[in-house]
Each structure stands twice: as C-alpha cells, then as structure tokens.
C-alpha cells in the first residue's frame, strides 16, 4: 500500500461516512418533525399537565339567622397545620418534632393517613386541625423549625347558641360515601370539589343547596417539585346564601327553658301565615359535636340514651292527641249536623256502649248537663264517646284530614312524619283484626290508634283560629316555594257558626270551670286553648289513675294547644310534655310563658 492508495481509499470512505452522517441528520430532522409537528397537541397537553395544578376553592357556607337577625349558625376562622406527603416521607419524625409545639393525637394521625390513602395527587393534608390560640402562637414563634409545615386558615362551622334549637337547625358533618353518591346522582359533584362538609339534618340539610354554594377553582402553575409559582386563572367560588328563619330565638330560649328537665316538644306558629316562631324538641344535644365527625363515644351516648335526644319530636314524634282532638271532633260532628246546640247530654261519669261496656269519664261522677261548648271547656269524655260512635270513623277521619291530621304538613324540614288516622281498613291490613265500635268511642277522645305530631297539632289549631286561610308551616322567612296545599283538604267549607261554637268552647277552657282555668287568671289577653292527657299505658276498667304511684316514664303525656289573643289570634302553640301528667298543669304554663313574651312584646297594652 502506498500513499496514493490510502488517499484514494480515504476519499471514498470520507464520502461514505459523510453520507452516513447525512442520513442520521435526516433521521433526526424527521424525529423532530414527528414530535414537534405531528404530536404537538399531545405534548402540549402533557406540558400543561406537568405544570398546571387545579386547586379547588371551597365556597363559604351561608349563615343562618333567626327572624331578628340573631346568628344561629356562624363560620369562624380555623387554623390547621398541613404538610405535603412527598416532602414529609418520614411522618413519625415530623409528628415528633411538631408534638413539641402542638399536641397531635393518634386520631389526628389516623385522619391524616385516611386522607393520604384516598388522595390521588400530592396535595397537602392537615396533620392538626383546629389549633387553639395557644398552639397557634407557639407554632408561629417556632415556624422556622418547620419549613415543610404550612399553617392554613379556613372557615369552620360554628354554632354560637350551642344546643338551642338544634332540632330545626340540624348540623353539618363530614361528607360520607353515601352522600357522595347522592351528590353524584343530583349531578352536583362539581359544586362540592374541595368541600368536606354537608348538611345532615334540619335546616342545614333542607337548604343544603343554597347554604353550600358552588366550588370554584384556581389554575396554579407549579414547578417540578410541586411548588406553586403563580396563579394563572381563578374561577371564584359562589358563596353559600345566608338563610333567615321565621324562628324567634328569644322565644325559643324561653320555650326550651320552660321545659326544664322534661322531655317533649313545642311548636309556636303565626296562624296567619304559618311562620314557625318556636320549634322545640327536648332534650337537645350540641350540634358542634358533629362538625368534624362525631366520636364513637359521643355517638353511642346520644344514640343509646333512653331520652332519645336525637329524635326530633316536633315532626317525628308521634303521640296520641288525647283530649286536644276534641275541638276537631266537635267540628266534625257539627258539620254533620250532630250535637248542634242547644243539644245537651246528662253525663253520669261514664258512657255506656250498647248498654254493655262502660267508658269512664275522667271526672268521677260526671259533669252533669253538657252541651258541645261545655264539653270542650270541661273536656267531657262522655260527650265525645257517644258523639264519635254516632258520627262513625269515616266521617270523623274525613273532617280531621281537612285539618291536616294523618297527612304531612309540608313544613320545609326533612323527614316529616304523617301521623295516623286509623280506620277499619287500616286495622285489617295492619293487625288483620276487625274494628270494634269501642275503638270508635275512644278515638273520639284522642286515645285509640290516632297519632299526631306536634307540628300537625299546631297547624290544626291555627286552622281553627283562621279556617279561611290555607297556611303551610314553614321555617324559612319569606319562603317562595311552599308546597301548594291540596285543595281537597281545606277548612274553608266549615260554617262560621261551627267555628264560633268551638272557639267559644276553647275560650272557656281558660275561664272558671275550664280545664286550664288558672292560666287565664290575671292576664290582659284571652287564651283559647284545649288541654289533653294522653295515656302512655292503658288502665284496666276500674283502675284509678294515681299520679303519685306511677313511675315517671309511664306517666301520661301532657298536651296543650292554644291560640291567643282569642279575638284576634297572633300566635298558636302546640305543646307535648312527655310523662307530664295532666295537660293543663304542666304544658299550660309553658304556653303562657310563650304568650306573655310574644303578646306583651307585640302589643303592649
């Protein structure tokens, strides 16, 4: 080989390698073309996904006020400590060092781990929520020691009045899996992004949609380790609306206090428009317990209590109406041309059905000569036994239905019960047994199968006060969307004379000789009322009810319905005091406190 040969080979091979390189250049250009032009959209999306994080903005929950703008459900600032999981892989070390400043319980760590297990992205998770002022201060001073721990400020539900009015107010709780499905079915998932809480009972549940508002979100640019660089776009949250209630919180407080330790319920209505002024169910509980998920211990305590504090007696409590049903039975009779004054009976102290079975009056020896007005005033059982038997269940029930018994009142609160107006058909279906006329007799004095809610009683009483108005009880002030009253159930057809007689009877209840006469003493306005006593257990024929000898939980329920002032009704109440004994003596004074407050304030005379 000589130099020239090498030169020849070199020239050829130089060209060869040059071509090889040019082909590789071509490949590279094609590769760039493929990635940059053909797959541009795909990689542009990937670049956005890389750098843009969607951060939800939870809406602030609407506040709840009473009719006088007193706040019942508030929000208050809450401080929590949050950490980003990827920056704090050694959790126990973080917890150890944080524990020197704030107390971190096992429950906090469990909560953290649960959220960590559920989340898809590396979002920050609270390790300690609801810092006390002390803890907040301690953390603030030592925050330089915890560069990876972030102090977050948020708003949290706060019930400043504690347990007051808890049954209409309800509470919020953490969103459960079941709630998530409900939200999804209502296609409202988007509204709840970033929210942890949802209304579970009462107004908090009923007006959830409005109170909650809609979530917004922020597009935030983050760098490769997830640190936010800047906010690109903000779609603000639609804050929840405030809700004003018809409740008069002062009256509510008076009513709840009036119950003392007794169980029971009270509804106070404005009979002209159906506004609920007071809504009591005793005993109560503290809604604050539920906000961040109630502990097992507290839940068991509430749920297993024999006093059933969680039961909303006002619309879910079913009670025999006792004698409070009598004015309505009287209307049914009068409208069917029965017992029209001056018709009288002579009450021997018992009613004898078919000359075989005796039904006792509450007053041994009887009330003497009784017309329908006196029958209401003295609560004459004998009068109503016979009346009911003669009238018959179908006609009675039809009239009672017009007052809203046996059907839901349509109040704007969740899970209302409809009560019960029993008849032969119902008994057959329920017990597969025949209806006896004795059962008709006791239905006339509100024992039997009949069950009512305090709300139904309050509504029915209001209808006596104003039979021509078709009101729906409601708790939201200025409600626009009320369920239309079914026109088939109306009290408008009732004659003025009938109403006048019944009203006279009820007014006489608080007069001398009436069952609640002592209430009518020394007041500047007139109360129309009806007392009631509902048996918790049946006395055998011949047994005498002796309040002294009976254990508390077997004592009769005391009932009381009333409206006042009698000539120009401004307020109606329905009260049940469980195991309260006689209606006039335990429930009556509660009503009087309400009236004194309301009427003295409303019309000082």
């Amino acid at each position: 080989m000589d130099k020239y040969y090498i030169k020849f080979i070199l020239g050829n091979r130089l060209r060869l390698i040059m071509y090889f390189f040019l082909i590789v250049f071509g490949l590279i250009i094609f590769r760039f073309f493929y990635i940059q032009i053909l797959q541009n959209n795909y990689y542009l999306t990937r670049a956005f996904d890389n750098s843009i994080k969607i951060v939800p903005i939870a809406p602030t929950r609407g506040l709840i006020f009473d009719r006088n703008n007193i706040i019942i459900a508030d929000n208050k600032l809450n401080y929590s400590l949050e950490i980003i999981p990827s920056q704090n892989e050694n959790l126990s070390k973080v917890v150890d060092s944080l524990s020197k400043v704030v107390s971190i319980s096992l429950r906090d760590i469990k909560k953290y781990k649960r959220i960590l297990g559920n989340q898809e992205y590396d979002n920050s998770i609270p390790i300690k929520s609801s810092l006390t002022a002390n803890e907040l201060a301690r953390f603030a001073i030592n925050s330089y020691q915890f560069p990876n721990v972030e102090l977050k400020e948020s708003v949290k539900r706060f019930y400043p009045k504690g347990s007051l009015g808890v049954h209409f107010l309800g509470y919020i709780n953490r969103i459960s899996k079941k709630d998530l499905i409900t939200i999804k079915n209502k296609e409202r998932t988007k509204n709840y992004i970033g929210t942890d809480h949802i209304g579970k009972a009462g107004v908090e549940l009923q007006y959830e949609t409005e109170l909650h508002g809609k979530s917004g979100f922020q597009q935030i640019e983050v760098n490769s380790i997830g640190v936010p660089i800047r906010t690109l776009k903000t779609y603000p949250a639609k804050e929840g609306s405030n809700i004003h209630l018809t409740i008069d919180l002062e009256m509510q407080k008076i009513a709840e206090n009036a119950f003392k330790n007794k169980k029971g319920a009270l509804i106070a209505l404005d009979p002209k428009n159906g506004e609920i002024l007071a809504y009591v169910s005793m005993p109560t509980y503290n809604p604050t317990l539920f906000i961040d998920g109630i502990s097992h211990k507290n839940w068991d305590k509430l749920n297993n209590s024999s006093h059933k504090p969680l039961l909303d007696r006002a619309i879910n409590g079913l009670y025999p109406p006792g004698s409070t049903i009598k004015p309505f039975v009287a209307i049914a009779a009068l409208e069917n041309k029965l017992r029209t004054p001056p018709f009288k009976i002579n009450d021997p102290g018992y009613f004898s059905l078919n000359n075989s079975r005796r039904f006792r009056d509450w007053k041994i020896g009887g009330h003497g000569e009784v017309d329908i007005i006196k029958a209401i005033a003295v609560s004459c059982d004998t009068f109503f036994y016979g009346l009911a038997v003669e009238l018959g269940i179908p006609k009675l029930n039809k009239s009672l239905t017009n007052f809203g018994f046996g059907i839901k009142t349509g109040v704007d609160l969740p899970n209302e019960k409809s009560g019960l107006l029993a008849d032969a058909k119902w008994k057959k279906k329920r017990y597969n047994k025949k209806w006896y006329s004795g059962e008709t007799a006791i239905t006339g004095i509100g024992q039997g199968f009949t069950l009512v809610t305090p709300m139904q009683l309050a509504l029915a009483t209001s209808k006596i006060a104003f039979p021509n108005l078709s009101i729906v009880p409601h708790i939201r002030l200025n409600s626009r969307q009320l369920k239309q009253n079914n026109s088939t159930y109306s009290t408008k057809e009732i004659s003025n004379q009938t109403i006048a007689w019944v009203k006279e009877g009820m007014e006489n209840v608080t007069e001398d000789g009436g069952t609640a006469a002592f209430i009518g003493k020394n007041i500047k306005y007139k109360i129309a009322a009806k007392t009631g006593t509902a048996q918790v257990f049946g006395l055998k024929e011949g047994d005498i009810y002796d309040e002294e000898k009976i254990p508390d939980h077997l004592k009769d329920h005391a009932l009381f319905i009333a409206y006042a002032p009698a000539d120009e009704p401004k307020i109606t109440v329905a009260i049940i005091v469980e195991n309260g004994g006689h209606g006039g003596s335990t429930a009556g004074p509660i009503a009087k406190k309400i009236f004194d407050y309301y009427l003295a304030n409303e019309s000082p005379q």
Binding site: I6, F32, F33, Q36, I229
Partner: protein, 365 residues
C-alpha cells in the same frame, strides 16, 4: 480601522463562511443560554469568556505552522492520557463519575481534550508509518484508541468512552482498514457477544441495559428523556417563545444548560428554530468535509476528517438523545452547551481544520 484592514490582517487566514456560520450558532446559543439558566446571566457571561478564549485559540492556531501541529500531536496525546490518569485518582466527582480536574479557578475535563488529542495522535501515527500501512499498524492504532477508551470507561463514563471509541474507529476506517477485516471482526463480535455478556458482572450488565432502555429506570434517566420529549413536542412549529417554555422555567427539564440545552431551544423556538439551527450545523459540517476533501496530504485529511466527525458525532448523539432516539449518555452539544472545555475544544478543532485548509498547498505530497 477600516474593513479592508480587518480583512487583511485579522481574517486573512480565517475561512469566512465557516467562521460566520459558527458565530451565528454561538450567538443563538448565548441567547438560548439566558433562558436555559432561568434568566440568570452569570452563565452567559462566563460562556462569553469561554468563547473569547476559544476564538483566541482558534485564531492563534490558524497562524501557526502546520508542522508545529504535527510536532505537538503525540505530546497532546500523552498529556491527555496523563490527565486522564490524574482525573481517575484526584478528580472531582460529579453525577457519580470523576470527570473534572480542579485547577482552582477553572475545572477542566480531560476526556473532552481527547476529542482533539486522539485524532491528532492517530493522524500523526498514520503519517509517520504511511510508507508501510498494514495490519500491524492498524492494530497499534487500535491500541492507541483502546487506552483512553478504557481510562474514560473506568471513570466511569460509558457514554463518553463509547464516543472516543467511535471517533478512533472512524479514523482507522478512513486510514484504510480493509473491508474484509471490518466485516470479519463485526461478525466475530456478534458471535462472541453472548460469551462476553456472560463474563460481565451483574452491575456491568445493568449499566449496559439501562443505557439501551432508559425506561428501565423511569425515575432516573427515563424521566429526563420523557421530560425532554415533552419540551420538544410542546414547542410545536413556532415554539412557545423565548423565556416562555414551561418545561424549562419550572425545572421539569434536567441539565438545561448542558446536555439538554437544545431541548430548551426546541421548546421555545419550535420546529422552525430547530430546522434553522440544524441547517447551520449541516452547513458547518458540509464546509468542513469540503475543506477536508481539498487537502492534499493524508495527515491533514485524516486529522480534519477525524475532528469533523468527532464534533458531529457529539451533535448527532446530543440531538438523538434529547429527542429519545438514543439513550441518555450525557454529551454536550458543540458550540451550544454551557461548558468551557467543550467550547474551547470545539473551537480549537475548527481552528485546526482552518489551518490545515490554509496550509493545504504548502506541503505537497
């Protein structure tokens, strides 16, 4: 100072088309470096100093005599080998490999110097024995390649060592190694590769595997590869605009000033910018090959071709690497990546090619 003065005294020996194209690339590279370093211009300033040093050396080399180059060739090789030994024992560790020597104010990377020293040595060697080139000579040339290859490999820097091996083999190929031998050794390698593979230790196998398949290490090099392709792809035709690339700005891209500097450029200037820059590179490549083909002696042609292919192997590997065609081997893009040694070496290579071209008629065969 008039233009003719400049032309006569300062640009007389410079190949103007080649020099012009390189200046354009350097300017684009500097603009890009500002963005690549998050608008911090400290890198840009020191890169300008690197360029000034590099161009000064390029200029100097254009004016020295060709026989000086010939004279320096074996010394350059010996010094580089010596430096490699030093770096293997006293070097600075970075990214798990020892590549740098700390000289106080500046760190140098001896493996980069081999990109000049090895072609110089091989060209000198073949020129010295040009009267009797046979298998023995090729074999000795092969040893000259294997020595630095092995030293760099043990740093350990598999990527750069393979580049050195490749650059050396190209020169041996150009020097006339018979096609029969190449074919035979190729098949020989294929047949023996299973045995070689079996004789390797597990960590060596893993190293080779992760080089071939970056996705076997998705959070390491694979992650880098993916982020680089996203940067390229999101650039589209016109790019996302200077300083506006999110992959760069938000630290999704690794090594934005060195290995992945062209990903930054691709994201911000798009396919349009990429094509423009590649076109300039191809012009530089073509100009170098053209100049090589005009040279008359084997030393010049071997050296010039060796330097050109060495430069453009770096170019090809870098672009292939950032676009996911090749594994991540960590090699800078000549004239573009931040780094003094690489910049100076690349400019010296161009200086040598210009010198050889200018002096083509002075030494006749």
């Amino acid at each position: 100072m008039s233009l003719p003065f400049l032309e006569n005294y300062f640009l007389k020996k410079i190949d103007r088309p080649l020099f012009g194209a390189i200046i354009i690339i350097l300017i684009i590279g500097l603009i890009n470096l500002i963005s690549a370093n998050q608008q911090d211009i400290t890198h840009t300033i020191s890169q300008i100093i690197n360029i000034i040093i590099g161009i000064g050396l390029l200029y100097l080399i254009c004016y020295i005599q060709k026989k000086s180059i010939l004279f320096f060739a074996p010394w350059a090789y010996l010094v580089s080998i010596l430096l490699l030994f030093i770096v293997n024992f006293f070097g600075i560790e970075s990214h798990g490999a020892q590549r740098w020597i700390d000289l106080g104010i500046l760190n140098i990377q001896p493996s980069e110097f081999l990109k000049i020293a090895l072609p110089l040595m091989l060209a000198w060697f073949y020129d010295k024995y040009s009267y009797r080139i046979d298998y023995k000579i090729h074999f000795m040339a092969g040893l000259l390649v294997i020595l630095p290859f092995y030293l760099v490999l043990s740093q350990p820097d598999l990527g750069t060592s393979l580049l050195i091996l490749w650059g050396g083999l190209i020169i041996i190929f150009l020097a006339g190694l018979s096609t029969k031998f190449i074919t035979a050794s190729f098949f020989g390698f294929l047949i023996s590769s299973p045995f070689i593979w079996n004789s390797l230790l597990l960590y060596q196998k893993n190293r080779i595997l992760s080089l071939i398949d970056p996705f076997s290490d998705p959070l390491g090099t694979g992650y880098h590869s993916i982020q680089s392709i996203i940067a390229l792809g999101s650039g589209g035709f016109y790019g996302r605009g200077w300083l506006n690339g999110t992959q760069t700005k938000l630290d999704f891209l690794p090594e934005t000033t060195t290995d992945f500097i062209f990903s930054v450029f691709s994201e911000e200037f798009g396919f349009f910018g990429v094509i423009t820059v590649i076109a300039i590179y191809i012009f530089i490549f073509y100009r170098c090959i053209w100049m090589t083909s005009k040279m008359n002696d084997n030393f010049s042609r071997l050296l010039s071709a060796g330097l050109t292919f060495s430069l453009f192997t770096g170019f090809v590997i870098n672009l292939g690497m950032i676009s996911g065609l090749f594994p991540i081997v960590g090699t800078p893009l000549p004239f573009f990546s931040y780094g003094g040694t690489s910049m100076v070496v690349s400019l010296i290579s161009i200086g040598i090619i210009m010198n050889l071209y200018i002096n083509k008629s002075l030494i006749a065969n």
